[in-house]
């Protein structure tokens, strides 16, 4: 079990460019989460998939951010026209769906927008 795998670990983009972050959840896990971590805001919930379907995107900025889960083995978070304030660590997590089972986190992708 390699855990939740996130790629790349580090990404530097120029202002206005697009950034795509990848996540491979633990095999068999039906719930996938995306969080954003910054020093100021801490850990913020972005979005949640269950059985590949988007369930809750209440934390996603309404513009420029989108998330998809085209199959059960990976999810992507896409940020269009990146801005310096998008610089953060983006964490993906997965769990089985049986109420409050443990949520396993990846090591994150550090996005820097210059």
């Amino acid at each position: 079990n390699a855990g939740v795998i996130q790629t790349p670990r580090h990404k530097v983009t120029g202002k206005g460019q697009e950034a795509t972050l990848w996540c491979e959840p633990i095999s068999g896990h039906s719930a996938v989460f995306w969080y954003r971590q910054t020093i100021v805001q801490g850990l913020e919930f972005l979005t949640y998939f269950r059985n590949q379907a988007p369930i809750d995107d209440s934390g996603m900025p309404k513009e420029r951010f989108s998330a998809q889960m085209p199959n059960q083995s990976h999810s992507t978070l896409k940020i269009q026209s990146t801005q310096p304030q998008d610089s953060a660590v983006y964490l993906c997590a997965s769990s089985s769906w049986t109420g409050n089972t443990e949520v396993f986190f990846g090591k994150g992708t550090r996005l820097t927008v210059v």
Partner: protein, 115 residues
């Protein structure tokens, strides 16, 4: 709305000393509570969780936490810290409403263990 407060941004203790990291939560129902630890350049790792029953729960590496409904608290403790415990510790509450589910985190407490 559920929320979590960790009042101490940074705690420094000497190796071998006891430790308490504070966590206060706000919830309209009995919450599901968690403590996670984050080492540098790593993801979050679960230390322990509380769902119900005995208010004192044991976790990994000698950590334990005590749930108090009257105080709305879930403090983390360790009897004797090691330098390798230096990390950032997050308290979290699980929010399940309808079909959605998410963890609400505190801002974290950075623990520095001095030799």
């Amino acid at each position: 709305a559920q929320s979590v407060t960790q009042p101490d941004a940074r705690v420094t203790v000497s190796e071998g000393a006891s430790l308490q990291l504070r966590c206060k939560y706000s919830s309209s129902v009995t919450p599901y509570l968690f403590w996670y630890v984050q080492y540098p350049r790593q993801g979050l790792q679960l230390l322990l969780k509380y769902y119900s029953g005995d208010p004192v729960v044991q976790g990994v590496n000698g950590f334990e936490a005590e749930f108090s409904k009257s105080n709305s608290s879930f403090h983390l403790r360790k009897a004797s810290v090691h330098w390798s415990d230096s990390a950032v510790y997050f308290c979290a509450v699980s929010l399940i409403t309808g079909n959605t589910r998410k963890l609400i985190f505190g801002l974290g407490t950075t623990l520095q263990v001095q030799p």
